[in-house]
Amino acid sequence: MTQAVLEFRSVDKEFRGEQGRLTVLEGFSFNLAPGEIVALLGPSGCGKTTLISLAAGIISPTRGQVLRAAWARVGLAFQEPRLLPWKTVEDNIRFAQRSFWEESAAGPNRARLLREMGLEGFRHAYPHELSGGMKQRVELARALAVQPHLLLLDEPFKSLDAALRDELLHFLKMEQAAQQFAALVVTHDPEEAVFLADRVLVLTERPAQIRGELVLAGPETRQGKAQELAVLLAEEG
């Protein structure tokens, strides 16, 4: 394993269904360095969620290798929050933390995230008592609460209104600057990708391959890049 926190080596992924074999990824390779944020941008249905599922170890590649650093704690947030309905907001977050942290270390971090993400008043609420936006915040808070080395985000801001999305994007950016975790972010929004990422990979239609790569070193390099990406994406779509 290299220094990368996550590495895809010539990964193919096929799904077999009633309608035959569906190839979602073909010869897909890329590295994610510690502390780096990579955004995956591509047309709908190109296999972005499959990439996140492979990175999380939820599914295995058909061919090739997906290598995660053995030491890496993984935080994961999906577009549809995967909260345990029988646990309160706080217990959902504690659930993820318990595998990695003693309560003495996890508790203060959890309290901080609940406070900073506007969830403090809802810590004893159950998921069915929350709005979609609140659930999404809990999902993200849980992913951050494990103090991940690798954060995997599958369009977690897609169904949020613009104000809440911007608020969470800024919060995420600050957390990343403070904790220096690596992140793989799936998005369909070029502005979101340019705002968050150090590197944007533009994917082709299924089976997904890397069509273009954009390195964003500092704020000045981000000027006008969202439009550039949007054009690339429109050509692909």
Binding site: S53, A56, G57, I58, V74, L76, F78, E80, R82, L84, P85, W86, K87, F95, A96, R98, S99, F100, Y126, P127, H128, V146
Partner: protein
């Protein structure tokens, strides 16, 4: 009118309707009893006196305790075995293919056959026959309901738990069991009723103690008022279990799923 006031009124109406239907049954029973000999149909008063007599000499408490103990032991074993087998069959398709037909056969065999076999194998003095019958009657039901409960668990939650490196014990206690709680509440509701009836039936056919046995003795001695008294006890136990235990359990299970 607030929603809680409306709910309170609806509940009061339900309770009143329930009381009225019981009262009507009692009146009808009393009226019918006047037309028949007490050996055929004892009156509510005669039944009440028999019940007080059973309480006074301790037969009611002693036999009820025996039957309840057997029911809970037999059903508890069936639930635990059903849960383990369901977990196994969920994780190994081969085990599921093996178990399903086997348990279907167990379910098809009538309880009376199991009772006869239990008496042959265990005798009537040991109290194992009722345990065996309860186990055999409720195991297939527990298994199939827990399997369908496991099948209904959202696989995405399991994936999430694995990403957060949740161990098998936490997986069972914090994910599978709470997710199964609504199914378990429904399973126990039906299963306990089955177990209770099976216990009484087995004691009636092949035991020397328990409610079923004293019911059989009262039947042999033509003590019809005692038969009615025991029938009332059996119904009362089921009502207490349903309203005191199972309905609160179902409510608790539904608390987060609304």
């Amino acid at each position: 009118m607030t929603p809680s006031t409306i709910k309170g009124k609806q509940r009061a109406t339900k309770v009143l309707a329930g009381c009225l239907s019981l009262l009507a049954l009692l009146v009808l029973w009393g009226a019918a009893a006047r037309s028949y000999h007490p050996l055929i149909l004892p009156s509510p008063g005669e039944t009440w006196r028999a019940l007080r007599g059973l309480w006074a000499d301790g037969a009611l408490q002693a036999n009820l305790a025996i039957t309840l103990r057997r029911t809970m032991a037999g059903y508890g074993l069936a639930l635990a075995a059903g849960f383990c087998l369901a977990l196994l069959s969920r994780s190994h398709a081969f085990v599921q293919a093996l178990l399903r037909p086997l348990l279907a056969v167990v379910q098809i065999i009538p309880p009376v056959v199991w009772t006869v076999l239990a008496v042959i194998w265990f005798g009537i003095a040991t109290g194992r026959a009722p345990l065996f019958l309860i186990f055999m009657v409720t195991l297939p039901l527990s298994f199939s309901q827990i399997v369908s409960g496991l099948e209904s668990i959202d696989g995405r939650l399991v994936e999430m738990a694995r990403v957060y490196r949740c161990g098998w014990l936490r997986m069972i206690t914090e994910l599978y069991l709470p997710a199964l709680l609504p199914h378990l509440a429904a399973t126990v509701s039906v299963g306990f009723s089955f177990a209770w009836k099976a216990a009484v039936f087995a004691e009636f056919m092949g035991s020397t103690s328990g409610v079923g046995f004293v019911l059989s003795t009262a039947n042999s001695n033509l003590e019809t008022e005692q038969v009615f008294a025991w029938a009332l006890v059996l119904v009362a136990v089921m009502l207490v279990c349903e309203y005191g235990l199972l309905i609160p359990l179902r409510r608790k299970a539904a608390r987060w799923s609304s």
